[in-house]
């Protein structure tokens, strides 16, 4: 009997102990986590409240932290800290480029250690990491609603100040305050193989959709190359077609963020070979006329780089960021060229240009980390040569344009203007509501163009009518005034 009691007691003791151990363990690790992520900064619970975020903003301003006030090599040289950078450029981590940028940075700021974490599925994962709060000090801002920017990110300064120093400053702006600095800028055009175009007998770069389709046909007739490689299977390469419907197709810097929301049937045929209709029709016609690869469902994104380099592909519709990758993918880098999208608006050609991912700084980081992070962002923008190396439009106002823009002589770059105050979130809402997701991952809608063109089960006008319908009903649900 006694033995049993002793046994029962010891068992109970063991159980309680193990439970206590569990609890202790988890709370301890939680504490370590918070230490890592926020150092001695504001406790995590306060982050969700806008009021507190505003407070953080005040302290940041009080301490004089702003993008324009930082003088590289002089400001904040006394800070010793470690900052963590969450990036989408896993390719640059693998190639060691990021390490060499950081090594260069450490020559000026030896006491700031930069840790990098690459995220492959960035657009989705970054959003989840952002809500969890545990992501480090610098991140490439994912698709957040603009009114939430001040809850998550440190302001760089007012728009009027920052826009004097960098291009595309208004991309992540809310209430005239800038929350993101672009890493590089992209112009939208078509990457093509000059040798193939020459071989096909194309002497002048096509300027209209008709000329472009004729050029593709010439490539098909006169060479062995695939005229237009769609990269259907990769998905995001399809969504990239949305980037042409603004500046390139309309010549208007207001189209994307200000006019599109209020447009009645934006996918209608404007009759003059412009607007979204003309952009997507190029794709539909190319597919319908058999001017793309044989089996679009098994395209290979990594493989296409070498293929265009060696002359197996005539052209691909991709942003300027793709140019350097195509040049480096083989021995015939000199053959790669970049041209504007073949749409002419009123006798003049335009090219959409815009920022790539923007650097955002964690509002919950310690003051030292905020300052160190902003120094790093400014260094990346002005000193690293990152945008130039990527073949991008320079971010720093006095930066240099890379050579690939040679063919853009006489073509005007059009960067989107931000939304009108009070309408910042409407485009996001319309996108989600209509499920067209223009410029925000609407890959499947562009894929459906290819499918319908290949199967011949829907005409192009029917597809566009369907999209117009979705857009109109979204406008009604969200309650947007339709003016034109």
């Amino acid at each position: 009997m006694k033995l049993k009691k002793v046994l029962a007691l010891s068992m109970a003791a063991v159980l309680t102990l193990s439970m206590a151990a569990c609890g202790g363990g988890s709370s301890e690790s939680a504490a370590v986590n918070t230490n890592e992520e926020t150092a001695e900064a504001a406790p995590a619970e306060t982050t969700k409240e806008a009021g507190d975020a505003a407070e953080a903003e005040d302290t940041a301003e009080a301490s004089g932290l702003s993008y324009t006030n930082i003088v590289l090599g002089e400001s904040y040289t006394d800070i010793t800290t470690t900052i963590k950078w969450l990036t989408h450029r896993t390719d640059l981590i693998d190639s060691g480029m990021i390490d060499s940028y950081i090594a260069d940075f450490n020559e000026t700021y030896p006491n700031i250690t930069v840790e990098v974490e690459g995220v492959t599925n960035y657009a989705d994962d970054a959003l989840l990491r952002l809500t969890s709060g545990n992501w480090g000090d610098i991140m490439m801002i994912p698709a957040v609603d603009k009114n939430l920017l001040n809850e998550y990110f440190v302001p760089y300064g007012s728009l009027s100040d920052v826009s004097k120093a960098v291009r595309f400053a208004d991309q992540w702006m809310y209430d005239n305050t800038v929350y993101g600095i672009a890493s590089t800028g992209n112009a939208q055009g078509i990457v093509y193989n000059k040798a193939i175009f020459e071989q096909a007998g194309i002497t002048a770069i096509p300027k209209t959709p008709e000329e472009f389709i004729a050029a593709l046909q010439a490539i098909k007739d006169n060479t062995d190359a695939i005229p237009l490689y769609t990269n259907y299977a990769a998905g995001w390469t399809m969504g990239a077609w949305d980037a042409y419907i603004n500046g390139s197709a309309t010549g208007s810097s207001k189209y994307m963020n200000q006019e599109l929301l209020h447009t009645q049937d934006p996918f209608q045929d404007y009759g003059d070979g412009t607007h979204a209709y003309a952009v997507y029709k190029v794709l539909y016609d190319a597919v319908a006329n058999g001017l793309i690869e044989d089996d679009y469902t098994t395209t290979d994104w990594e493989g296409c780089k070498g293929m265009i380099n060696s002359g197996e592909i005539g052209c691909m519709v991709l942003g300027s960021w793709a140019y350097s990758q195509m040049v480096e993918a083989g021995d015939h880098g000199d053959d790669i060229g970049y041209m504007s999208f073949p749409i002419t608006v009123g006798g003049k050609q335009y090219a959409s240009a815009g920022p790539d991912y923007n650097y955002g700084i964690n509002v919950n980081a310690s003051d030292d980390n905020k300052a160190a992070a902003m120094v790093f962002v400014k260094w990346m923008t002005e000193e690293s040569g990152f945008a130039y190396n990527e073949g991008g439009v320079p971010i720093s106002m006095d930066g240099e344009y890379p050579a690939l823009y040679a063919a853009f002589d006489g073509i005007e770059f059009v960067a989107d203007e931000p939304s009108v105050a009070g309408e910042e979130d409407i485009l996001n809402e319309l996108n989600a509501e209509s499920e067209l997701n223009i410029n925000s991952g609407g890959d499947s809608k562009i894929q459906s163009i290819i499918e319908h063109a290949a199967n011949g089960d829907m005409t192009f006008d029917e597809i566009m009518a369907q999209w117009n319908e979705a857009w109109t009903s979204a406008q009604e649900t969200v309650g947007v005034e339709v003016t034109n």
Partner: protein, 339 residues
Amino acid sequence: MSAAAEQVVQTKEKKPFHFLKWAKGRKGQQTIIIVAFMFIPLLLLFTFTYFPFAEMFKFSFYKMKYIGPRKFVGLDNYIQVFKRDDCFGALKLSLYYIGGAMVQLAIALYLATILSFKVKGGSIFKGFMFFPYLISGIAIGFIFKFFYTRGFVFDTVLQWCGFELENLPYWLKDQRINNISLVATSVWRYFGQNMVLFIGAIMSVDAELYEAAELDGANKFQQFRYIILPSIKTIVTLNVILSITGSLSAFDPPYVITKGGNGTGTYFVIMNEIAHVSQKVGLASAMAVVLLIIIFIATILQKLFFKYAMRDAEDENTGAGLRREKKLERYRNRRKGAA
């Protein structure tokens, strides 16, 4: 309430309840131990299964994104699920997967029966056929993406067999067959696992029965039909139910191989797109709840079906069963006599 019942209640109330006494007693100890041991598993089950599910159920009544404000919309999301073409259209694709599941079970049952008799190199074959189940679904997706690419593995093998490349279809592009191509990958992956389950069940069949059947002149097929199948019907039923519910929620092959494009978007793939690209979290949650209900209904229907089907089969064979018993009895007696 009758007076007698009241009396009982009163007498019960008269006996005061001593917690300590109860806790020290045998019954109390039993209860305490049971509760103590159940507490942790139940807590884990609740926190990681039922609580998230309840949250999702709650989401399905809201119009919301992952971040930002939420708006209560009542049953709107559910109405949307039933109104949209893509949600229930996607369920039609499940028919392909259900068909595939049937083929898969037939292959598995056939191979399991063969392999449970003495076969040269049986273990090696079992190993080879079970192997695909051990590969992750994502890896299988990548394997088959290349497998089906025009002019790659599959086409090459078929060309060896004398097919002309021009006559071969595009396995993933042609909308008439691309779903079959995808289903084939899932059959390839899972039939080995079903086979191993069946072999395990067949092992438990008494070997004397085969001997007896052989003496009676039953061939292998008759042995399968009248001995093996009735003995393993429980595991067959279970596998059918699991395969059909699995077919309703097919995700890996279309998501990895075609990303749901080109008419291969199953219910889950569409749900994923709605939740993560369009960020209609409420609608996606409603879709999940609707699918759960559909799976419940499908499972219950199958259970009922098998209850009837199996009972009928037994009714038919009661005579046969009795005869079999008698024969066995006679056989045993003869053996006894011989000894």
